[in-house]
């Protein structure tokens, strides 16, 4: 079929017009073939919103901004086209917000719970939500002050801590350590002093063993029980030793940390009561050791070999 010039022109223009209208509505997100729902909301301001900005419900795009107008009260009335079959309850809130730092602004509708629904053209409540960036931008100065205050205070604290550690506390710590080492020295002395008694105990023990030899046959079960007790005692001694050892290493660690001014201990070090406690503890320890010296039997009840007899 041969088309006349008029027909060709007509086809071209008509197609272009149709494509333009469809394309325009498509780009503006207006449904191409049916009338859509329209609602409006009023916000304090409308930064970042322009006609064509998107409208979301529960993260689903449902429409776009149609028109933006300033109201006489210098607020901003935004009309938006909503294209969804889901009705919007009365009492829903339109929140003008940003979905991310780099994304543009959009409007998010938070659905209300009413069983009545918004009609065409009705207005819902609008809230302008400031974004992180805006808050930072607007309150930057304020925040900056806060931050520098905080840093200043932190600095002060650290300086105080340092001072405390440098002078008094370091002295107290040294004293504590001295006390601890003298305590240990005394423990060693005690052990040395008791050497003879222990020797005699072992001697009488060996004497007993020879006597025991004779007793073995008739008093075997007793001897066996005795042996068990001895073994138990030795094991317990071993345990005590290990505990002492780990306690000493723990203590070492703690002391190291204190030396470095680390952790809560650093704070505790500040506390004079701690020193007093430690001091009194040392005194009591001294007393205790003195007591052991004077009356070992009372403290070495577990080593009651004598009690067996």
């Amino acid at each position: 079929m041969k088309l006349s010039n008029e027909v060709k022109v007509g086809i071209t223009v008509l197609l272009a017009v149709v494509v333009a209208i469809v394309g325009f509505r498509f780009m503006r997100d207006i449904p191409i073939f049916r009338q859509s729902m329209e609602i409006s909301a009023t916000f304090d301001r409308a930064d970042g919103i322009s006609s064509g900005s998107l409208v979301y419900i529960q993260g689903v795009r449902v429409g776009s901004v149609n028109r933006i107008a300033l109201t006489p009260e210098t607020r901003v009335n935004i009309r938006m086209r909503i294209d969804t079959d889901v009705p919007i309850p009365r009492g829903s809130i339109a929140r003008l917000t940003s979905l991310g730092i780099v994304e543009g602004k959009s409007i998010v509708i938070e659905l209300g719970t009413s069983d009545q629904f918004v009609e065409f053209g009705e207005e819902i409540e609008g809230i302008y939500a400031e974004t992180m960036m805006e808050v930072l931008g607007q309150r930057g100065e304020e925040l900056g002050d806060d931050v520098s205050n905080a840093i200043y205070e932190l600095n002060m604290f650290l300086r105080q801590l340092n001072e405390t550690l440098n002078d008094d506390a370091r002295m107290t710590l040294n004293e504590t350590l001295n006390n601890v080492s003298s305590t240990t020295g005394k423990v060693a002395e005690i052990l040395e002093g008791k050497q003879q008694e222990i020797d005699t105990a072992i001697e009488s023990g060996s004497r007993m063993l020879s006597q025991l030899d004779t007793l073995i046959t008739d008093s075997r079960p007793q001897v066996e029980a005795l042996m068990e007790t001895i073994e138990k005692n030795i094991a317990e001694l071993e345990g005590v030793r290990i505990e002492l050892e780990s306690a000493a290493s723990n203590f070492n660690e703690i002391l190291e940390k204190i030396n470095r001014g680390e952790g809560t201990i650093g704070l505790l070090v500040n506390d004079p009561s701690m020193y007093e406690n430690l001091d009194s503890l040392t005194i009591e320890l001294n007393n205790l050791i003195k007591g052991i010296n004077e009356n070992p039997g009372r403290y070495l009840r577990h080593m009651s070999i004598i009690d067996i007899f």
């Binding site: 008029e6 022109v9 071209t12 272009a16 064509g52």
Partner: protein, 245 residues
């Protein structure tokens, strides 16, 4: 001096065209002939130009923004906005300066040097109304139509390129394209194509209508029409952007 004389002749021709644009009966038949030549016949090349512009834009934007910390939808926004506001009008304008401008200048130039324009005049025709008016009208009527074609196929081409290359999913592309879609940009692009249509056809008509010197003169007229058409398009693009944005 020479430039002023040219400008004067050009303006006079435009004035004659404007004055004789009321003689619709004289150019009605020619108008439809020209509308087909300028519009209908240019659709294939414009589709081709549109598709390639859009897809190249997409691929290159995706390549350039590969390592940047931005959402993929930005590419859609870049491509569709560039096409609507600038590329659809300017690139098709440049292509049509070659296609339409050269044809018009050659036609009128040949008619001038073979005395066909004199023949028309001597028969009592208004040769400006008969030859210039329908061509200029066809230009300003059909260029916006071709702008639509270029835009649609440009954005479509960009979308398709993003999809087939796997660099930009269509959903992201459309999201960006829609988010940054401002109707004013389309109006602006439309206006541009209107102005470009006017420039290309009037410059070509002017060069052709006043051609002289046989076949060589026609060749010169054609070259000048194409080159000057392109230059004036770029100039007008700049002026419009400076004035209206």
């Amino acid at each position: 001096m020479y430039a002023l004389k040219e400008l004067g002749k050009y303006t006079t021709l435009l004035y004659q065209a404007l004055r004789s644009s009321t003689e619709f009966g004289t150019y009605r038949k020619n108008l439809f002939h020209e509308l087909v030549k300028v519009g209908y016949d240019s659709v294939p090349i414009i589709i081709l130009v549109g598709i390639f512009t859009g897809s190249v834009m997409t691929l290159q934007s995706a390549y350039q923004l590969e390592f940047a910390f931005i959402p993929l939808s930005t590419i859609g926004a870049i491509v569709s906005e560039s096409i609507l506001i600038e590329l659809a009008a300017v690139i098709s304008g440049l292509v049509l300066a070659g296609k339409v401008g050269a044809r018009v200048a050659t036609e009128l130039g040949t008619m001038r040097v073979s005395e066909q324009i004199d023949a028309l005049e001597s028969m009592g025709f208004n040769s400006v109304s008969f030859l210039v008016v329908p061509r200029v009208l066809a230009g300003i009527l059909m260029f916006p139509v071709l702008y639509i074609v270029a835009s649609v196929f440009g954005i479509g081409g960009g979308l398709a390129a993003g999809y087939f290359s796997g660099s930009v999913p269509p959903a992201d592309f459309l999201k960006g394209a829609r988010m940054f879609f401002y109707p004013w940009n389309v109006v602006f692009g439309f206006l541009k194509s209107f102005v470009f249509g006017f420039i290309i056809t009037t410059v070509a008509c002017y060069k052709g209508y006043y051609a002289k010197g046989g076949a060589e003169g026609v060749g010169r007229a054609t070259t000048e029409a194409t080159v000057m058409g392109c230059i004036y398009i770029l100039l007008a693009d700049f002026i419009l952007a400076a004035l209206l944005l």
